[in-house]
Symmetry: C2
Subunit: 224 residues, 2 copies
DNA sequence: ATTTGCACGATTGTATCCAATATACAACCT
DNA sequence: AGGTTGTATATTGGATACAATCGTGCAAAT
């Protein structure tokens, strides 16, 4: 028998189809705000970008539609789903319900490694100078706190909710003092995790999300 | 200007494509348990059932995959997602988090009409003799209590969670005393709504869901 | 000037065909 | 017999071709 490890055999069966690649790329572009909401996505244009036919593009769009990121009208096309301030508030409130439960379940299951990893991501976020990376690092940090929860459904629900408002989270981080405050709150959450205080970590997470929500809606109601 | 209401103008643009029809039919069949979990869905077979090509079938399957009802492996096919007892428990717990919030937001916004409608559905469920209809009536009843919440994201999240465990909700209702107990609890929830007691309605909803969960998992751990 | 009808291009929805891959089974070797 | 290799068939993934629909501009009618 050959040594499997020497080949680093990857699971080919689960390799990405064109449809998967296109889906992931579009999803990333949408949640990062690189495609602005309301913009219509033309099948042909996307197909040409990826050098494929429209078939895999359509399948990718159907999946994005199922997760709410785009809205489709027959014979007219799909547009990046617009989202109202009320919906943003609702989704932040949803996150503030789900994510504290995730972290509360995680804390008693965290290992030294996962705590170190979380602290490292916390530091990366705090030290990163380039604003374009704050969103990714912020999300990685929060995800790392939920990995031990053993709550896949909650985790997926939180991820979906984050996808819908990701571009507003990024906007909030770019607000005056938005990131500064996040840095402080992140460290407090990590500290609570290190002490094994699940309830405090949950409460801090909830506050962190709601604080971002109010500071964001204050900005959106005023300026936009 | 013509009177729009007199026309009851339906949104023609949103008329159903083949892909939509197939998606809805498959979804209904899966959540009702008519297609059992683990069973593989052949594109060709489905296409022939609906007298269409495989293209709209594939799009329907991609959407089902995005909502978690089926699992797809490249070049092998899609199977109805199996679900473990742990996942069932998690999703019931998720419902027990979300649905009380929905009803709590609904209660202060309920009208006499919506209360009457809920009571009517409550009665229909209690009086229905045919076991095959209990699942639908149960779901209609609960949905009616959430309609006034003005929380579309919560509502959609609850609907998706219900889809995933619908067949187990049905099983639970068929258990000894499962339905009897549901009937009592439903009436208590409606009564709390009529009194405008949002917190009690929420607490009762939470108990209702958790009670179903424990009675169900007790059955699944023992028998299955 | 405004409205109505229509032709045409652009775009989406679906069918049909081909390629890539998996599965089952036969042939073969030891 | 047991296992391995080759081959046929079934099934999915994707490309191409065609049909259905939408939107727009323009001309004719009022």
């Amino acid at each position: 028998m050959i040594d499997k490890l020497s080949l680093r055999a990857s699971n080919l069966g689960a390799s990405a189809s064109s449809s998967d690649v296109i889906h992931d790329a579009l999803r990333a572009a949408i949640i990062r705000g690189e495609i602005e909401e309301g913009q219509t996505l033309r099948q042909d244009a996307i197909a040409k970008m990826f050098n494929v036919s429209r078939i895999p593009v359509r399948e990718a769009l159907k999946r994005l539609e199922a997760s709410g990121l785009v809205t489709s009208v027959r014979y007219k096309g799909v547009v990046v789903s617009p989202i109202s301030v009320a919906e943003i508030e609702e989704i932040f409130e949803f996150r503030a319900t789900i994510e504290p439960q995730l972290i509360a379940h995680s804390v008693p299951r965290m290992t030294t490694e996962s705590l170190d990893h979380a602290q490292a991501l916390c530091n990366s976020f705090a030290q990163e100078k380039e604003a374009g990376l704050w969103g990714d690092l912020n999300r990685q940090f929060h995800s790392s706190l939920y990995l031990n929860a053993q709550r896949p459904y909650y985790f997926a629900a939180a991820a979906a909710a984050n996808d819908r408002v990701e571009r507003y989270i990024r906007a909030q981080l770019s607000l005056t003092h938005g990131r500064d405050r996040a840095i402080e709150e992140h460290q407090m959450i990590v500290d609570a995790c290190c002490k094994g205080d699940a309830q405090r970590a949950a409460a801090l997470t909830r506050d962190h999300i709601m604080q971002a929500s109010t500071s964001l809606t204050k900005f959106l109601d005023r300026g936009d």
